[in-house]
């Protein structure tokens, strides 16, 4: 039962990692990396490390996404300034 | 008590599954959002309360109820913000749509 969860989530993590590598749209890649941290946190819980899982939950779900988004926003603004 | 909790969480799990199926099968993003937010919220409420009933313990049932409250508070806000953003950037509605009130109202401009 527990092993099933680990294998399914591991395969999904691999698929999300390929998405983050190959997608042309950067925003979709950011969303895929959010999905990776989501499933990594469940696997940490199964491996009996709740402290690590909580760190992954707090950082991966909110803060990393927001930092990436701000960086993407800065890049977009710079490109638009160049076009004007 | 334990049996009732188990059955409630089974019903909740079915709702979670149907919500995910709706996310996969619905025709456009607004319908997907409908399924992905409402059905999964109801499903998670039932699932968590069923778990709490089955393993009754004073501290744990308090934490489960707080968890359910957090989901009820936060989930509508995120789906509202996402639906508004999707409408503003011009994602098309499906052809079967009959009414679009947000389009008729005058939109807020960039400031």
């Amino acid at each position: 039962m527990i092993l099933t969860i680990i294998i399914v989530l591991g395969i999904l993590m691999l698929a999300a990692a390929f998405m983050a590598l190959y997608l042309k749209d950067l925003l979709s890649a950011i969303i895929a990396s959010g999905a990776i941290s989501l499933m990594a946190s469940v696997i940490y819980i199964i491996l009996a490390a709740p402290d690590v899982a909580m760190t992954e939950a707090a950082i991966g779900s909110g803060l990393t996404t927001i930092v990436f988004l701000y960086a993407l926003h800065l890049v977009r603004k710079k490109q638009e300034d160049k076009h004007d | 008590m334990a049996m009732a909790g188990a059955i409630i969480s089974l019903i909740g799990a079915v709702f979670l599954f149907l919500g995910a199926l709706g996310v996969l099968r619905m025709p456009d993003i607004y319908n997907r959002m409908q399924a992905g937010t409402k059905a999964t919220t109801l499903g998670s409420i039932l699932f968590l309360l069923g778990l709490g009933l089955g393993h009754f313990h004073k501290v744990c049932i308090c934490k489960t109820i707080i968890l359910v409250l957090f989901i009820i508070f936060t989930n509508p806000i995120s789906s509202h913000a996402l639906a508004r953003a999707a409408h503003y950037i011009g994602i098309r509605l499906t052809k079967k749509t009959v009414l679009d009130k947000l389009h008729e109202e005058d939109r807020e401009e960039l400031v």
């Binding site: 591991g10 899982a53 760190t55 707090a58 950082i59 909110g62 701000y70 | 936060t74 400031v111």
Partner: protein, 228 residues
């Protein structure tokens, strides 16, 4: 094309390396010398129910100080690199009314939850770093819902410096009054498993939480908002 192929091979190989780690994991039959000492004496010596906390704050407290310093250097580096001279005015869209009301309702709740995480660090999973991140997320939610919101630089700097200084002062107090640097036993240990227990660990964790939260808000503030 060849680069994509190699990255695919690399990810699959990485997965094959990590798979046995997950599937064949067994609880250790006996611990090593250091971990056995922590596991046997940790709870009785320091009075913290969460053993990870007593390792992070007391036994390896100096390393935690180093980590917080690395975060501080990161903040300074980002502030140095992102300094811009001319700013073109940028058009933004205001947040909707529902998001504003929801933020004003949820903001105290999230901050309270962050405080719960770092005050309860010695009883439940979590601690200073996680609580600080939760508080920083609350401030980010405020920045998202209001386009004119600027966290004050001076307050952030003072908060960060003061909590860092008090962290070191707590360490030196432990050196003077108890066994060594960052020893938590100069405050009474209290009853095992209650909030007011484990000596100075909750105080130190609160200081770490404030420092981490102030640093992360500073980083996001420098990324997202320009100085006028």
């Amino acid at each position: 094309m060849i680069k994509r192929f190699f990255s695919l091979i690399f990810v699959v190989l990485l997965a094959l390396v990590f798979l046995p780690l997950v599937t064949e994991i067994k609880p250790l039959s006996e611990l090593g010398m250091t971990s056995a000492k922590y596991a046997e004496d940790g709870a009785a010596e320091l009075g913290a129910a969460n053993l990870v906390t007593s390792v992070v704050v007391t036994y390896r407290g100096l390393d935690t100080l180093g980590e917080v310093t690395v975060l501080f250097i990161t903040t300074a580096g980002i502030g140095f690199m992102l300094r811009r001279k001319t700013i073109l005015p940028e058009k933004k869209r205001r947040a909707s009314e529902i998001l504003k009301s929801g933020t004003s309702f949820l903001l105290p709740l999230i901050i309270l939850f962050g405080v719960y995480i770092f005050v309860h660090g010695h009883l439940t999973p979590g601690g200073g770093f996680q609580g600080g991140v939760v508080i920083a997320s609350a401030i980010v939610l405020l920045m998202l819902s209001d386009i004119n919101m600027h966290p004050d630089h001076n307050i952030l700097n003072w908060l960060e410096s003061l909590s860092g200084a008090f962290y070191v002062i707590m360490g030196i107090l432990g050196l003077i009054l108890a066994g060594g640097f960052l020893d938590n036993r100069f405050l009474p240990l209290g009853e095992f498993g209650k909030i007011f227990s484990a000596g100075a660990i909750p105080v130190i964790y609160s200081l770490i939480g404030l420092k981490v939260g102030a640093e992360l808000v500073g980083i996001l503030n420098k990324l997202g908002r320009e100085d006028k």
